[in-house]
């Protein structure tokens, strides 16, 4: 059986003395007491057993009990061999018959020891060691926020909707938004997907959020604002809101400074209402405010007030910068600078559209790009009355980074997709767009990202007539002016791309004590859930800073990160039989009813559908323990 023994993520590598997990056991250092560690591991496993299926409930409990006896030096009948036989039998029973992976995988470590070094299990008094353990699952591992997905899905199965939502909100403060627009890496990792449709994890999260109709969805026992030190957050986007939410939950008074007039950042001004209705964000923001957080709008930190002022004059003990990536890079094609009408960026277009403004006119629009922003632009344009809506993308549909569901819906709604085309020149009359010239491409060798790069086909250029061109080919970070004077001459706090140089774990900005940051402004444009996760992690470490503790990544964080680069589902694992329970039906507004306004397209599910979907979850929990 394969064994995980090299721990190398792209940001850290950790050394371990020993690892016990769902793949078996590795010992790198003879000072580790294997008997004690397997005892600790099985104790942990028994504690994690949900107690529903009989073999796991009683089996793990009895294994742990016997191991504890051995650690006390008590072998039954003074013969450890009896114990080993007993343990081996029990381990096999649990593994072969438990309902979920807690029981199916955790005895593997014990069996590994019994097979390879049974002598290590001889009864003796042991000294208890210190171990770090982590419970994860393929979906949890793939989720940048490490939301405890199988648990909230189990909550849904058991109709414990409030508990489920609070489980989500432990890690993710915007379940309604994430439940609608997340890029759902979790679903790509779902084991059900090996042999059918993955669990509709995103949709179930949305279900939990929608199900809760109480005006304030969080119940917290802490007194809001009980603590003295104030924290300023720059930007009320996902990262900022998330950081504020988690700090507020720890009773720190937080003020968010937002340049715009509403909260939500890109979620508000970058995602059209038909995908994310305003009411959802409103409820989520209200949730943060209910915890005592204050939001000041129309304050542009960097011009209206400096970070320095916040820290030195306004009495904030720490600042969290989450200014996002609000700008668009240019398309770099001919005549770009001459077009004053009919040529705009996707970000600008959506920004105005989400405010209810239609700033482009005509009937024909071409959108350049293949990501979700491009999809949002074409579908918004349809709702703005454009009748000829085209997409230009330089690779093929297979390489398109946009969500497959989005592509599907855009096609349904009547968007024309043009693949293997790259814009070269904009045509205009007195600054008004009249068309666009495109270079025909073909796919060449794979590039560093593994995708095949498009290569121009000599001489094949043609022109598309249109009234508007929207370029949606990326986003740009502008964070330098926010740091302002603090940054000094040497661009302190910024990395080589001029992004904020924040620690990926703690969010601490290099060379500052009280300055933290996260989200797109630090990483460049990334996913919404990654921004939420950055805010959540930073909140923990800001709290540490404020409480005078050391600001550094915890063992669990490092372990979690190290696991991210490892596939949790082993290749030799046999997929479950085809799941005949149909996956959840997604209810969408009929196409002919959609294009008149910005009504939400995807509709919610009813209890029975959600519970049935939840019952498809295989609960692929895995427990990992390291000695270091």
């Amino acid at each position: 059986m394969s064994i995980i023994d090299t721990w190398a993520g792209d940001k850290v590598s950790i050394e371990t003395k020993a690892v016990m997990g769902f793949g078996g056991v590795t010992i790198n250092d003879s000072s580790v007491d294997v008997l004690d560690m397997i005892r600790a591991y099985m104790d942990k496993a028994a504690g994690e057993s949900c107690g529903q299926c009989f073999p796991c409930r009683s089996g793990l409990k009895n294994i742990a009990k016997r191991l504890n006896a051995l650690c006390e030096g008590n072998a039954s009948d003074n013969n450890s061999e009896n114990d080993i036989e007993y343990l081996a039998n029990l381990a096999k029973v649990v593994m072969s018959s438990a309902r979920c992976d807690i029981g199916q995988t955790s005895p593997k470590a014990l069996l590994d020891i019994i097979e390879n070094a049974p002598n290590l299990l001889a009864a003796r008094k042991v000294t208890k060691g210190n171990y770090t353990s982590l419970v994860t699952a393929p979906c949890m591992n793939a989720c940048p926020g490490h939301v405890d997905i199988p648990t909230y899905i189990e909550n849904i199965r058991l109709r414990q909707f409030d508990e489920g939502l609070s489980c989500v909100m432990d890690k993710c403060s915007m379940p309604g938004t994430i439940g609608r627009v997340c890029e759902r890496p979790c679903e790509a990792a779902c084991k059900r997907g090996q042999n059918g449709t993955p669990i509709a994890i995103r949709h179930l999260k949305r279900f939990l959020f929608d199900k809760n109709t109480s005006p304030n969805i969080i119940k917290t026992e802490v007194a809001p604002l009980a603590k003295k030190q104030k924290v300023a957050v720059v930007g009320a986007g996902p990262a900022g809101l998330s950081c504020a939410y988690h700090l507020s939950k720890q009773s720190f008074p937080v003020t968010i400074f937002e340049k715009q007039q509403r909260s939500g950042g890109m979620a508000k001004y970058g995602i059209p209402d038909y995908r994310l209705p305003a009411a959802v964000l409103k409820k989520e923001v209200a949730c943060v405010q209910a915890l005592g957080c204050e939001i000041q709008y129309s304050v542009d930190v960097g011009s209206d007030v400096s970070v320095q002022e916040l820290l030195e004059q306004k009495g904030y003990s720490a600042v969290f910068i989450a200014s996002g990536a609000p700008d668009a890079p240019s398309m770099r094609c001919e005549n770009e600078q001459h077009c004053t009408t009919g040529y705009i960026s996707g970000i600008e277009y959506l920004n105005e559209a989400t405010r209810g403004n239609k700033i482009i006119h005509g009937t024909r629009v071409v959108v350049v790009g293949g990501g979700n922003v491009a999809m949002d632009c074409v579908r918004t344009a349809l709702r703005h009355g454009f009748t000829d809506v085209q997409i230009i993308y330089r690779r093929t549909e297979l390489e398109m980074p946009a969500d497959k569901l989005e592509i599907h819906e855009a096609k349904l709604e009547g968007v024309t997709f043009n693949f293997l085309l790259a814009p070269t020149k904009i045509h205009h009359a007195n600054g008004c767009v009249t068309g666009i010239s495109c270079q025909k491409m073909e796919l060449g060798e794979a590039d560093a990202s593994g995708r095949r790069s498009p290569v121009p086909i000599e001489g094949e250029i043609f022109e598309l007539e249109c009234d508007v061109i929207i370029h949606a080919i990326g986003q740009k970070v502008t964070v330098g002016y926010i740091l302002g004077g603090l940054s000094g001459e040497g661009n302190a706090g910024l990395d080589k791309y001029n992004n904020l140089e924040a620690d990926p774990f703690t969010g601490k900005v290099s060379s500052f004590n009280n300055l933290f940051g996260g989200g797109d402004c630090a990483t460049g444009p990334k996913t919404l859930i990654a921004a939420l996760a950055a805010g959540e992690r930073a909140a923990l470490h800001i709290a540490d800073y404020l409480e005078g503790k050391e600001v550094s990544a915890s063992k669990i964080e490092i372990l979690e990160h190290a696991l991210e680069s490892i596939k949790i589902v082993d290749d030799v694992e046999i997929a479950p039989p085809t799941d005949l329970t149909a996956s959840i039906p997604l209810h969408a507004l009929p196409v002919d009813e959609r294009l008149y306004d910005f009504s939400e397209v995807e509709q919610g599910s009813i209890d029975a559908e959600a519970c049935k979907e939840a019952s498809r979850c295989l609960r692929c929990f895995r427990i990992l323990m390291v000695a270091s």
């Binding site: 529903q52 009989f54 073999p55 018959s97 309902r99 648990t151 058991l158 109709r159 414990q160 005949l580």
Partner: protein, 373 residues
């Protein structure tokens, strides 16, 4: 139709059927314990585990769908060993004293007290009807070797009709499922999914939501939940007779199964899958039957005396009096001077007879029933 193989026998199944359902139709027995088909509950006890070719683990037959070409074994030595293991652990976890009377400390204090009650041979009211007991016998579990685990057990005697003796609870979750999925009362919290706060989950009742329907009692596979009305009656040696009938209360007309011993009802359950109630009953349907055994029942015809008191009479005497009085009245004042009200809770045949009496003999249509209250 699709086909699969169970124990070498090719059987037919319909898409969507579970292995248990398909096997049952083909006459192949797969043991189950936690499975409650009506609520979809199962997949907990793993007693129904079967071997499926191509899978590295046993799969639960109650919740795995049958698939074309599936090749299944249901009684391999490994499966039998697994079932024995599970049954042994269940016995050790609780106080299943029908088998364990010989073992010291195998009874909870409540059970000892209960065993000392009159009329009792066994403490367990489910003896003979217990699904766990049946399986333990089937798989010949060597009960004498079992060492009961230590532990305190909860007894919930608050309910006026049901005793909850958790020393016999196997935590199968059926009662919770019946309460939540079937009766939709949500009075018994489901087992938690992970990181249970308590050492042991117990199906404790939230009496604020409880409607006392007793669905939990009906589905309990062991004696953990027992009907108080059956105390001292259910363990009688006499053969248990099951009689199907219709509930006498509201207009739904639930189908009931009466469990009768020595001519006396000891328990009332819903008839599984029967229209219109699909096995469900309410508090009155399940527990509202013992009025028939009341000491207050009228046992002879009674005739009022001059002084207003009643004296017992023979049927002949009483009917003669009625016949005379009605005949006289009709003769003197006409047929429409008599009237009758029939009972809308008694059987059809009674109402038919009464209206026939009034119409064909008394010659009046002054016959009504109490339909309007």
């Amino acid at each position: 139709m699709s086909y699969m193989t169970i124990n070498g026998k090719k059987i037919e199944f319909r898409s969507g059927e579970t292995i248990v359902e398909a096997a049952q139709k083909a006459g192949i027995y797969i043991p189950t314990l936690c499975h409650l088909p009506r609520s979809g509950h199962g997949d907990v006890c793993r007693i129904c585990s079967v071997e499926v070719k191509g899978q590295d683990r046993f799969l639960p037959a109650c919740s795995t769908h049958a698939e074309e070409g599936m090749c299944i074994e249901t009684e391999t030595p490994a499966l039998i060993a697994l079932r024995k293991h599970i049954l042994t652990t269940i016995l050790a976890e609780g106080r299943h004293d029908c088998f364990m009377r010989a073992i010291p400390n195998s009874k909870s204090p409540y059970q000892i007290a209960a065993m000392n009650m009159p009329h009792r041979e066994h403490a367990c009211p489910s003896d003979g009807r217990c699904e766990l007991q049946t399986l333990v016998l089937k798989y010949q579990i060597p009960v004498k070797d079992i060492v009961p685990e230590e532990g305190d057990f909860v007894l919930d005697n608050k309910h006026p009709m049901i005793t909850r003796d958790f020393s016999r609870c196997i935590q199968c979750g059926r009662c919770a499922s019946a309460c939540n999925a079937i009766q939709v009362n949500e009075a018994i919290p489901s087992q938690f999914g992970r990181r249970a706060e308590k050492e042991n989950w117990l199906p404790l009742v939230n009496y604020d939501n409880c409607t006392h329907c007793g669905e939990c009692l009906q589905v309990c596979p062991t004696g953990a939940l027992s009907a108080k009305k059956a105390y001292g009656l259910s363990t009688k040696k006499d053969e248990l007779i099951k009689i199907r009938t219709t509930c006498p209360y509201c207009g739904v007309g639930c189908q009931q199964e009466l469990l009768v011993k020595e001519g006396r009802i000891i328990e009332v359950n819903g008839v599984a899958d029967a229209e219109p109630n699909l096995g469900r009953l309410c508090v009155k349907g399940r527990f509202g039957y013992d009025f028939i055994y009341s000491k207050d029942r009228l046992t002879t015809p009674l005739i009022r005396q001059e002084d207003g008191s009643f004296k017992s009479a023979s049927w002949d005497e009483a009917l003669e009096l009625i016949a005379t009085k009605f005949t006289d009245t009709i003769e003197k004042y006409g047929a429409d001077s008599v009237a009758g009200v029939s009972c809308s809770r008694s059987i059809n045949e009674d109402s038919y007879q009464m209206q026939k009496l009034f119409r064909s003999i008394f010659k009046t249509n002054n016959i009504d029933n109490c339909a309007r209250t």
